[in-house]
Amino acid sequence: MTGSLPAFRIAAEAVTRVIGRRHILRGVSLDAGPGDVVALVGPNGAGKTTLLHVLAGRSSHEDGRVRLRWDGREVTGLEFRARVAFLPHDLFLYPDLTARENLAFFATLHGVGDATDRVAGTLDRVGLARDADRLVRTLSRGMQQRAAVGRLLVTGAAVWLLDEPGTGLDTLGRQWLWSTLEGHARAGGAVVLSSHDPAEVGRLATRILALRSGRVLADLAGGPDGTRQAFEAIENPP
């Protein structure tokens, strides 16, 4: 990223999410600031996706708070939605638009100034320069994933929330993804992502949250041994 990103810090404070008669999240807290890459690990149904949905504002929550802070004051409303970008499983891309049109559309929504060449630059960065004008519907899952990450880049949001971004990417794609996420963190962005891949977590995470049944089992520092402990915590039964 060229200029460094403004210092935004997103935090979940004892977030509780209830659907019907079950707790999906039981008082989960999390904090990601500039340069942080927080990885959420845990079995299916642990609440990783729900936590990302709550952070992004996609789902409501019954208790606790989600707070986005910049320079000491809390940021809400339209400003929150401009600074936080979310990449869910279903990618948020229009299948009947080309990759270029999708990126241009979301750039305009975010009020990005020089949209055309910024989009062109982003398409190069995500390696879709050649396929920029094919409908997203015709792209492979991996290429769609790259376009979706391009959407995050083009909006210039500081906080990235990604739900298992690595799915559908080949080894080359995953290397590219990891370097992109690292680049974003280095530029002062905050990243929160869910993942099943120990390699991905080991490489990227500065903090690791091990979740099961909506509860935080362990909140560990990143690095090889943190990753090992985290995956052990979620593997063995309670």
Binding site: V18, I19, G20, R22, H23, S60, R215
Partner: protein, 241 residues
């Protein structure tokens, strides 16, 4: 989950039910024995009392349901004790409203058969009752099919709110649809004091009956809430299946 007044207060259903029964009996006596037979229509005019009473209460419940919808959407941001009450009241009002609507749409034609010689006429009042009935049905269908979770309630409340201005425009359009209409027999109808007594008695009876049904339905909604809270507490204790 701390249970507020909503869960604890001894629901006044029994008292209301008894009062409603007494009022109904009194109203029937007034309608059939106190009020004289109407000159032109004879005995079939007796249908009129409870027909109009039901229609009036249907409209009241419709307005109540709309206001509950407005309140529910207004409180959307902060789920709390009151959202459950307001939402429950909205459902109760809609369900009892549908029942009263059915009553109106059954007794209406019976009344029209005698008063105007046809089973159904697009007479403004009957037409309006039909539209309110349809809006209530749509509200309940939304709750049944668009999900009973927060989203389903939100959509249903939205319709209830839309229903309020809709009622205004429907009423206006239906009134003018047939051009200005002649003086309908029961508009000024009740000069005879005994008839008025019968009318007010049936009005009181229907308001007590509706109130009882709404409170009963609200109680069921309340019990459902408590049961969910208990399941939730159970779920909180164990780390979830």
């Amino acid at each position: 989950m701390r249970t507020g007044w909503f869960e604890d207060v001894k629901n006044p259903v029994a008292g209301l039910a008894v009062a409603a029964a007494v009022a109904v009996v009194a109203a029937l006596v007034a309608v059939f024995f106190v009020a004289p037979r109407e000159a032109t229509l004879g005995i079939s005019q007796k249908i009129f009392y409870f027909h109009v009473a039901s229609a009036i209460h249907m409209m009241v419940l419709f307005a109540l349901c709309g206001l509950c919808g407005l309140a529910y959407l207004g409180m959307r941001g902060r789920p709390g004790r009151w959202t459950a009450v307001v939402d429950g009241l909205g459902v109760a009002a809609a369900e009892v409203g549908v029942v009263l609507g059915a009553v109106v749409l059954v007794t209406g034609p019976l009344w029209a058969r005698k008063a105007w010689g046809t089973w159904w006429t697009w007479e403004p009042r009957l037409t309006l009752s039909l539209m309110v009935f349809l809006l209530f049905l749509a509200y309940l269908a939304l709750r049944a099919f668009a999900g009973s979770d927060r989203f389903g309630r939100g959509v249903a409340s939205g319709l209830a709110v839309v229903g309020l201005p809709a009622l205004y425009f429907i009423h206006f359009a239906v009134e003018r649809w047939g051009g200005a209409h002649p003086q309908v027999v029961f508009k000024g109808g009740l000069q005879n004091p005994d008839m008025q007594v019968a009318f007010y008695a049936s009005l009181l009876a229907m308001s007590l009956v509706s109130a009882t049904l709404v409170v009963l339905r609200l109680r069921i909604e309340r019990l459902k809430g408590r049961l969910d809270a208990l399941y939730l507490a159970l779920d909180r204790r164990s780390p979830g299946a």
